[in-house]
């Protein structure tokens, strides 16, 4: 069922039917009625590829993220999808699994007009950003969220990672921690670095010497991370507080504490960035810095659509910073 057949069934020209369907003023009201009725009757739906080809618009956006089995990204997708559905857009999803090569391959796929815009959260392995600059050169609207590329000129939606880093670290200090370790992810990621800077700053503010900083450079490799954390907790002067830059590292820390028979929070207090909805049910419940993931998704999508719909407007390059929340639970509670 295409325009041609529909037009034939109506005894009208193809162009008239097309115009009637998009409610052009060139078509009389009665004819529009007839066309709409017939289209509904024959279950006509415009071919999206013909439309896209002709209009040079795909009504589709891409979401490129490291993974989906992660509450933060899942919630962000929820937010993105809600806006996309409102606006009548379609959402393509691509997973990098924190692999820079995949990220590059994916951006290649998106250079030929398949999508009207891209929302992206960088892979932890991404250091070279040539592929992102290519997207900018091709004028494809691009918005970063959470794991942003600082050196690329594009809107960025994040949380206040630096302040949250301070808040988390200060909280551990307030709970009596003397030796606090920071579990970082990829030094390529600004979120990791900002959270770390917050950590460093909080220690400094509390008069701790730089030499007290313990930064564990975790990365994409799970097994390696687990080993690093285990090694950390086996040190003779092991930390009494852990600040995990990311949910997974907090979970690993729990596992290893269990393995090593270390009691949380008695032996080690743990805080982590996390959107785990079972944080309160963990044993012990996990103190978290929780990001407004859903809102981040919605905000990022809104901005992307503004870019998409008002092309040429490049005034939307500002950063949007949303507030993350410290939720204190048992994993950092002082045992009475």
């Amino acid at each position: 069922m295409n325009l041609k057949q529909l037009a034939a069934a109506l005894g009208l020209s193809i162009s008239s039917v097309s115009k009637a369907l998009r409610n052009s003023h060139e078509i009389s009201a009665v004819t529009k009625e007839r066309v709409l009725a017939k289209a509904a009757e024959l279950n006509y739906e415009a071919n999206p590829f013909a439309s896209s080809l002709r209009k040079q618009k795909s009504k589709t956006i891409a979401v490129v993220i490291p993974e989906v089995a992660n509450n933060f990204f899942a919630l962000a997708i929820n937010g993105i999808e809600s806006i996309a559905q409102e606006k009548g857009y379609h959402v393509l999803i691509y997973l990098t699994h924190d692999d820079a090569k995949k990220e590059i391959a994916i951006t290649k796929l998106l250079q030929n007009g398949r999508v009207d815009g891209i929302m992206m959260s960088l892979s932890g392995q991404t250091s070279d950003t040539k592929h992102l600059e290519e997207l900018k050169e091709k004028k494809i609207p691009l918005v970063f969220f959470d794991r942003v590329a600082e050196n690329i000129d594009a809107p960025k939606i994040t949380t206040d990672d630096y302040n949250s880093g301070i808040k988390a670290t200060q909280h551990l200090i307030d709970q009596g921690c003397k030796r606090i370790a920071f579990l970082s992810i990829s030094h390529n990621l600004s979120i990791s670095n900002k959270r770390m800077n917050g950590y460093t700053e909080a220690l400094k503010q509390n008069g701790q010497p730089q030499s007290n900083n313990i930064v564990i450079p975790c990365n994409g490799n799970e097994e390696m991370n687990i080993k690093l954390i285990e090694k950390l907790l086996r040190r003779k002067n092991r930390p009494d507080g852990i600040f995990a830059a990311v949910e997974k590292l907090a979970i690993h820390s729990y596992d290893i504490c269990n393995k090593l028979k270390l009691k949380i929070p008695r032996d080690v207090k743990i805080i982590g960035f996390s959107n785990l909805h079972t944080a309160s049910l963990l044993n012990p419940s996990l103190t978290t810095i929780t990001q407004p993931a859903y809102e981040i998704g919605r905000e990022a999508a809104s901005i992307l659509f503004k870019l998409v719909e008002k092309r040429g407007f490049n005034f939307l390059l500002e950063k949007t910073v949303l507030k993350a929340e410290l939720i204190v639970r048992d994993s950092t509670r002082i045992k009475r």
Copy 2:
């Protein structure tokens, strides 16, 4: 950069270049080389809409699921995406949020050739399946996974829900439970019904009268579900075992036990279908029936691509049943 420009740059006709790019035997080896080189140099990528329009193929599939902030679906997407990436397909994602109306609206969107195939897990509110029949009528390849529509003729990938239901219930019985409640979701969903049938069967096998069955009909509304579960646990002869058809209901049960100061597993033992990766870290750790979500996604995607690529082959209507695993943890452990 399009074929025309590329052809001009090469001094060849459009059709020759097109053929060279798809490695046609009509083009000499030397010319092919030249074309490939130039295409790479000029960074040529075929316009996907023109190709799709011409070939009547979109190289895109749709994944329609209730939600993404759920480990089962997130892992399934991982599986789907991994196969799609191998095959060079793109993945559109649509969330129904367990709303039948949204599901219907989404299927409408997918009827016009936008996708070559659809993978679907039904919303819990879906009772009428007319919209699914329409997809079948339009000959759009369709594969169900997990939350399948029994009455629609399409490949279905599930886990052995009935047997898992028996296993879960038997486990509770073995752990000494005398009054076991089943928290169902939507009576429209065959997975819920099958799990319930397993529950019923296990009770029967253990000589319990039908009147001992306690089935709580939960549904999409969270607050309502929480109230139902709370009411259940406030009964004077409250159950000493809960079998949750779905992860979220198990989590709610934990919350309510906390609220009512009921000790798990002492007062109530809890088991649930779940892919929660923190199940072992909960307080107490949660006994689960865990589905091979990633494999389900991969299997469903593989079958879909077979349907897509060998159109007309309708022999692939069989059901695929994968095994779910009972993982015993503390929430059902007999206290010594």
